[in-house]
């Protein structure tokens, strides 16, 4: 398995698990609590910190385990796969942010706009990683 595919698997799993916990447990707790903006910071902060820690340790572990591959710079196939995935994720991000940032302020409270913005970012990252994995497993041309 290519080093960049391993990293995509790791990022996909860590993002999905971490933010499933946040949006499944932490975010609703905030919304049904005092609905204070600071509550979001105190809820999201630890989740983001744990995710950062997991990402750092996991990335280092994968790089050490695949020392030879990790030394290889990304080649043209890696770039081609990443370019396609990034293009799709970009349009999802664009659409999501327009919906949240333009339509949201008219109908939603601030804490929901913040959480929806986070959700859009997380969805983009998950779609990006899933497309990268698909590119490596099913093939990529051009």
């Amino acid at each position: 398995m290519a080093f960049h595919e391993k990293m995509a698997w790791f990022t996909l799993i860590s993002f999905t698990v971490t933010y499933a916990i946040y949006f499944g447990i932490a975010a609703p707790a905030v919304e049904f609590g005092r609905n204070n903006m600071l509550d979001i910071v105190w809820t999201f902060g630890p989740v983001a910190a744990v995710h950062g820690l997991i990402s750092g340790i996991g990335s280092a572990a994968i790089a050490i385990a695949a020392r030879r591959d990790a030394r290889n710079m990304a080649d043209e196939r890696d770039h081609a796969i990443d370019r396609k995935a990034t293009t799709v994720a970009y349009y999802i991000m664009l659409t999501g942010m327009i919906l949240v940032g333009v339509a949201g302020p008219f109908t939603l409270p601030p804490y929901k706009i913040v959480n929806l913005s986070l959700a859009v970012i997380v969805i983009c990252q998950i779609v990006h990683d899933a497309l990268v994995i698909h590119g490596y497993r099913r093939g990529s041309h051009g």
Binding site: D75, A80, S140
Partner: protein, 68 residues
């Protein structure tokens, strides 16, 4: 039926003293996994890389890659 790119890299490696995928990759600036993907038809390399691969084996481009 749609035409696709085929290649003879596996055969060319065999005739080049069983050159490894890693060796070929190193000589043309690709990873071993990308050479494997090209051999399996999972990735079509850029024109520049195709020329580089043909050059490593000292054959014309159409002996390394074909369109059929």
């Amino acid at each position: 039926m749609a035409k696709t790119i085929h290649n003879n890299i596996r055969t060319l490696r065999f005739h080049a003293d069983e050159m490894t995928q890693a060796d070929l990759g190193e000589r043309v600036g690709l990873t071993r996994q990308t050479i494997a993907a090209i051999e399996q038809g999972k990735y079509s390399p850029s024109l520049e890389t195709a020329f580089k691969i043909a050059d490593v084996f000292g054959v014309p481009l159409d002996q390394a890659f074909s369109w059929s």
